[in-house]
């Protein structure tokens, strides 16, 4: 084991010293006791750590995918890992530093908002490996993982374009942020490629971070899109997705899930799900442990980081023609024959609709 | 006069008791023994002994701050006595809160009614004694009981009318009904006539006599000696926290009671020299208020008058005939149309907040009739209240800052000159008695040395000693050549203070008389709208 730069640490749940020492301390003196422990606690084993963004761990979206990956690692190896759900912006740097000081390795953070903080923190802890998802930070101890979401959203767009009977499809995003615009742009391009007649209705759930967790408003927007003749609605709104998919099922129209495979939520109504395998990233990072490498990984359709979900729950919805079209588009993108426009490159979307 | 020292109980010749009273052998309906209560260093009640026989009306008089309110608050469970005991019908009771007082058969009618304005009479009456989760059966039962009570005591109140639609006198009857509904045997009324017109007061006294004849015991707290003489059987005088004497009403007279109350000889007669008239300071022409839907106030329908230096112009009238609005317009915080000139200069009538300030600058001061809601900030200390409206004056600091010591010395000056008690400039206005609150306002407004002084109801709810004092100051101001406009519903006050009297009715001036050439009868006809 390498030696780490570690301060005296507060004991943790798996601290081997914990049982013996705290058993000797009467309960009522717990306060004094743990202050003492702070001084005498030994170094701990390097544990991997994951930091979830303000949206929280169980966001039914990529943070939850990250948790799934971490848990899979835990179940397979029996190891423990540290985790924290941020409550405030100031905790971003705090959590990074505290985990790094404590010797956690690697430290995985889920979300592009960590980029600026990580740029400052990473050089201070050269022995710690950091993994950032959805953004790029150039540092010798940081591995950056970004996804070309527009490629996958193009694919679900193709499916939506073929599935619509009314030539009208919709997308309900969470907040109007660049990432969602990128997804929406790829989606619109895919729809256009498959069905040049089709119209795309765009809505955002809200303007505050509550928008990622507002199923009721998501459902309202879905019903409103259905009223405007949309018969396929793409849900790209984190925890809000639950309400969007539910409303689509109630309205008898099709929906498309995002991030994890949400086909099973309403079999026969969810046309497909756009998969973003954050779980794999976390799992691999934890498995790699301290040997994690630096650099930038671009996850796309070609390397399995993204995909569309086809399983028994949507088998009846996807006919042979649609399947063929998706396969063709997949191959074209994976092989580079089609390059889907990336909104965040120039803040513009060439889609007409 | 039969008076007893404080330490012994009242004993009266049986002949002076009302005919319906219980036989003398029964124990007193209420007996207090050695009640004391202190608030910090202030001894509000000292060893109070009192016994009130059942089926009598007993008056308690005393100046503001004499301890009357503390005493009834102890009886009603708002405060606990530090020492002493309370006996009801000869049994010792512990009244630790108002629920216990109600259970002991004590009912209370406060000076400021405790009614929910947008509830009906019936709903207000059962409020606090609902007895059950469902309202409908309770209301039905209460309606029957209420009818019985109304029949028994000849007290009527429309059960389904909302309180906000009732007159003040009717509201008071609802308070009495509420106490009777809770089976009160002893009814305490705190300054009940302070808000009533003379006719309503007569009506109240008739009700009290009726209650007495049904065997109820009534304790009447008031400072109006005339009422004591008119309605009570026995009367106790309090001064400085002590119970000085309890006497049979028939065996005393107003002058004697007043002297005992104040502790010295009081002159209720006002001697004033003839008015030496100076320049016209205030001219009012064709003053109108247009009332919108949101301001249901009596409109002013064309008021014309002028006021000269060195005179007191009294405005008489039954409350609610536009006098209050007139004062507010003149003082600058109510919008109106027409023309008002102060010392010949036209003033704005927009009613915005700035107007009131410029009136003061022009030498006009105003003692408003609602001292608690308008004239004072109840949460502020005497000090802070002493500069209300004058807080921008140079005397109280330079620039944006206030000079605390200048303000404090001004407040102390008010306290000494107007005998405000207790003499604590840091004490909040709400912790003073009504009379002392009024003195805080009067001290401020007179202390500003205005050329024109508007006065609304200067002695409402104020005790006799303070009345005498305030009246003297008003006369002195007139003699110093100031112009004074006095609005009062007390005809006696207007007649004795004013040089000229105008009567308002329905927003108009019904007539004007020199004070020396008119009397209550003529003014009363004008007040009723009879020309």
């Amino acid at each position: 084991m390498k030696t780490y730069h570690r301060p005296r640490s507060i004991f943790s749940a798996d601290d081997p010293m914990r049982g013996s020492i705290s058993a000797a301390i009467p309960r009522l003196r717990g306060l004094v006791g743990s202050l003492l422990l702070m001084l005498v606690a030994p170094m701990v084993w390097a544990q991997p750590a994951v930091i979830y963004d303000l949206g929280g761990k169980f966001d039914k979206s990529f943070s939850e995918m990250a948790y799934t990956g971490a848990k899979r690692w835990g179940d397979e190896t029996g190891g423990r890992f540290l985790e924290i759900e941020l409550q405030s912006e100031a905790q971003r740097e705090q959590a990074l530093r505290r985990f790094a000081e404590r010797g956690a390795n690697p430290v995985v953070m889920v979300g592009f908002t960590f980029a600026t903080t990580l740029e400052i923190v990473a050089p201070d802890y050269p022995e710690t490996n950091f993994v950032i998802i959805d953004s790029v930070v150039e540092a010798p101890n940081v591995r950056s993982v970004v996804f070309n979401e527009h490629e996958a959203s193009y694919l679900v767009g193709v499916m939506a374009g073929l599935a619509t009977r009314t030539d009208t499809v919709g997308i309900v995003g969470g907040m109007d942020i660049p990432l969602i615009r990128r997804v929406a742009c790829g989606y619109a391009l895919g729809v256009e490629a498959a069905n040049p007649e089709a119209r795309v209705i765009r809505n955002m759930t809200g303007t505050t971070s509550a928008a990622w967790n507002d199923p009721i408003k998501g459902a309202e927007l879905t019903r409103s899109q259905a009223a405007q003749k949309a018969d396929v609605v793409f849900a790209a709104a984190g925890g809000t997705n639950v309400g969007i998919l539910q409303a689509a099922a109630d309205e008898g129209i099709l929906s498309i899930g995002a991030d994890s495979n949400q086909n099973h939520l309403h079999p026969g109504s969810v046309l497909t799900s756009m998969l973003k395998r954050v779980d794999n990233i976390v799992y691999e990072a934890f498995k790699g442990g301290e040997a994690a490498s630096a650099g930038v990984s671009v996850m796309g359709l070609a390397n399995g980081g993204l995909g569309v979900a086809l399983d028994e729950h949507n088998a009846d919805l996807v006919d042979a023609k649609m399947k063929a079209a998706v396969d063709e588009a997949f191959d074209a993108i994976a092989s580079g024959r089609i390059v889907v426009h990336n909104y965040t490159d120039d803040s513009e979307c060439p889609a007409n609709s | 006069m039969t008076s007893t020292p404080a330490s012994t109980h009242a004993s009266m010749p049986s002949g002076q008791r009302s005919p319906n009273a219980s036989p003398p052998v029964s124990p007193p309906a209420i007996e207090l023994r050695g009640i004391s209560r202190a608030f910090g260093p202030v001894q509000a009640n000292r060893e109070i002994d009192l016994s009130v026989m059942p089926g009598t009306i007993h008056g308690i008089i005393g100046e503001n701050g004499a301890g009357k309110s503390t005493l009834v608050s102890i009886l009603y469970g708002f405060y606990q006595a530090d020492e002493g005991e309370i006996l009801i019908d000869g049994r010792r009771v512990d009244i630790h809160d108002s629920q216990a007082a109600i259970a002991a058969g004590i009912g209370m009618v406060f000076q400021h009614f405790k009614l929910v304005e947008n509830f009906t009479v019936l709903e207000n009456i059962i409020l606090g004694s609902e007895k059950g989760a469902l309202l409908r059966p309770v209301l039905a039962k209460a309606r029957r009981e209420l009818m019985d009570i109304e029949r028994e005591y000849e007290l009527e109140a429309p059960p389904d009318a909302k309180i906000e639609d009732l007159s003040i006198g009717q509201r008071q009857r609802v308070e009495i009904l509420k106490a009777l509904y809770r089976q009160a045997r002893v009814l305490i009324l705190d300054e009940p006539t302070g808000v009533l017109t003379p006719a309503e007061a007569d009506r109240l006294f008739a009700i009290l006599r009726r209650l007495r004849s049904e065997g109820k015991t009534i304790i009447l707290i008031t400072h109006k000696l005339r009422e004591i003489m008119e309605v009570t059987d026995t009367v106790s005088v309090m001064r400085q926290g002590r119970m000085l004497a309890t006497v049979a009403t028939a065996a005393t007279d107003i002058e004697e009671l007043a002297e005992r109350m104040v502790g010295r000889k009081v002159s209720l007669q006002i001697d004033k020299p003839c008015a030496c008239l100076g320049d016209t300071l205030l001219e009012v022409e064709n003053l109108h208020i247009e009332t919108g839907t949101e301001t249901p106030a009596s409109p002013l329908a064309g008021i014309d008058f002028s006021l000269r230096a060195g005179e007191i112009l009294g405005i008489a009238g039954v409350a609610g005939n536009g006098q209050s609005e007139l004062l507010e317009v003149l003082a600058g915080y109510r919008r109106a149309k027409g023309s008002v000139r102060i010392k010949g200069c036209e003033v704005a009538l927009s009613g915005s907040g700035i107007d009131a300030g410029s009136r003061r600058a022009a030498g006009l001061a105003h003692i408003p009739e609602d001292r608690q809601g308008v004239g004072l900030v109840m949460g502020f200390s005497v000090e802070e209240n002493a500069i209300l409206g004058y807080h921008r004056s140079f005397g109280y600091g330079t620039g944006a800052l206030m000079d605390r010591s200048a303000i404090r010395s001004e407040a102390k000056r008010h306290i000494t000159q107007f005998d405000i008690r207790p003499p604590d400039p840091g004490r909040a206005a709400r912790d003073f008695s009504g009379g002392n609150q009024q003195k805080i306002v009067v001290a401020r407004e007179i202390g500003a040395e205005p050329d024109i002084l508007l006065i609304g109801q200067p002695t409402r709810g104020v005790d006799i000693g303070a009345i005498e004092f305030i009246h003297r100051r008003i006369i002195a101001l007139r003699d110093a050549g100031k112009a004074i406009l006095l609005v009062s519903v007390e005809l006696e006050e207007i007649l004795s203070l004013a040089d000229r009297i105008m009567v308002m009715f329905g927003g108009r001036i019904m007539g004007e008389r020199p004070a020396k050439e008119t009397d209550e009868r003529e003014l009363g006809l004008l007040m009723a709208g009879v020309v």
Binding site: I10, A13, S22, R27, G30, S34, L35, M38, G56, I84, E85, Q87, S88, E89, A90, Q91, E93, Q94, A95, F99, F112, T113, T116, M175, D176, I177, P178, R182, T207, T208, D345 | F39, G40, Q80, E83, A331, S352, G353, I354, A356, G357, R360, D370, G373, V374, G375, L376, V377, F380, I387, L388, G389, H391, R392, Y396, G397, A400, L401, M402, R404
Partner: protein
């Protein structure tokens, strides 16, 4: 004598009992989910107050709360319920960012002044619109200020996504502020004086500014004529009109000052901590400010103390989140319990205590 005793009960004893109750119930809940409440308490105390590092965060949060607490209090003294501290602070953050990004500041001190003016003006502007609507049009200020919170969030979102975001960045945030705008942290200030203060904590020079703001606000409310007018207006609008105080003017002054103070929070959060404009620069501090102000009885000293308490809860909560598996929702529950007991349920504690005191006093006087 009686007054000072009851004052002491009011200010010291009752908050302490309320806090004790809140923490007791929190302890029961923590025990209920299988964690050790004593360990948790120890973690919170040592993590928030046991080290310079802990204080660095506690004071950072407290600084935010002082600004927004004072903001609520000044409006409340005029009996205006300014629920819009959140939105006003957001606009303050926008003002700070615009000033920091667009003017080449030579030194942080000038930048602090410039950004302070920007933050205060933007915050005040955002509060003055509802104030004007209340004073002139009768729109209820509670409703309008709540609505303006949403408008502020939407405005910030729009600007960050469309105008302030650096080209190519996915995150809805502005560019980092230039180095010259970097504010000295407590570490930078205190280490030359011989105090070792944690290096990486966000507490900065604005902590002193917030305390100065509290003192100035006290002076303004109780020592100036305008402060007197604000308090008069708050106690009784009728008395204020009688005294020649213009309701329109007071509403605008009180709200403008309130918005400016809320905006100044951005000096700490945006200029001091994130050093760029982010999507949600206030993180609900505007609402915590209401709780802080009510708990501190709208007195500047009370607000400073209550802010430190809430700073402790935030930083202590972060330590719990880091080192235990107590879910963050439960940490919010603990914070909510404190608000509930010290704010909403005040009378529940007050009345029995006062009765008890009255009874013991009577017993003593009898004996």
């Amino acid at each position: 004598m009686q007054r000072t005793m009851s004052d002491r009960v009011d200010i010291v004893l009752i908050p302490i009992i309320s806090l004790f109750l809140a923490f007791s119930i929190s302890a029961l809940i923590i025990a209920g989910i299988g964690e050790d409440p004593f360990e948790a308490a120890a973690l919170m105390v040592s993590g928030a107050l046991g080290s310079a590092y802990g204080w660095g965060y506690t004071l950072y949060y407290a600084t935010n709360f002082i600004f927004v607490g004072l903001a609520f209090a000044v409006a409340f003294h005029a009996r205006l319920f300014n629920i819009g501290g959140e939105g006003q602070a957001m606009l303050g953050a926008l003002g700070t960012a615009l000033v920091a990004l667009h003017i080449p500041w030579p030194h942080w001190s000038l930048a602090l002044l410039g950004c302070g003016i920007g933050a205060a003006l933007f915050g005040a502007f955002w509060a003055l619109i509802p104030a004007w609507m209340q004073a002139r049009r009768g729109s209820h200020i509670v409703i309008t200020t709540i609505m303006f919170n949403f408008i502020a969030a939407a405005l910030l979102n729009y600007l960050l996504v469309n105008h302030l975001r650096p080209e190519g960045s996915v995150a809805p945030g502005s560019a980092l502020f230039p180095d010259a705008v970097h504010l000295p942290t407590l570490h930078d200030i205190l280490s030359p004086l011989g105090f070792a203060f944690s290096k990486s904590t966000p507490a900065n020079i604005t902590a002193f500014l917030s305390v100065a703001a509290a003192i100035l606000l006290w002076f303004f409310l109780w020592r100036t004529r305008t402060g007197y007018e604000i308090r008069t207006f708050g106690h009784s609008e009728n008395a204020a009109r009688y005294a020649g105080i213009d309701p329109f003017r007071i509403t605008l002054i009180a709200m403008g000052l309130s918005g400016a103070l809320a905006g100044l929070m951005a000096l700490n959060a945006t200029m001091g901590e994130s050093e760029r404009l982010i999507l949600n620069p206030t993180e609900g501090a505007g609402f915590i400010g209401i709780a802080v102000a009510l708990m501190g009885r709208c007195h500047p000293l009370g607000i400073v103390l209550a802010s430190i308490l809430f700073g402790f809860l935030y930083q202590g909560g972060a330590e719990l989140a880091l080192w235990t598996s107590i879910p963050r929702e439960l940490i919010v529950v603990i914070q909510a319990l404190v608000i509930l007991f010290t704010g909403a349920l005040d009378n529940m504690v007050r009345m029995p205590i006062e009765r008890l005191l009255a009874r013991s006093k009577r017993a003593r006087s009898k004996a």
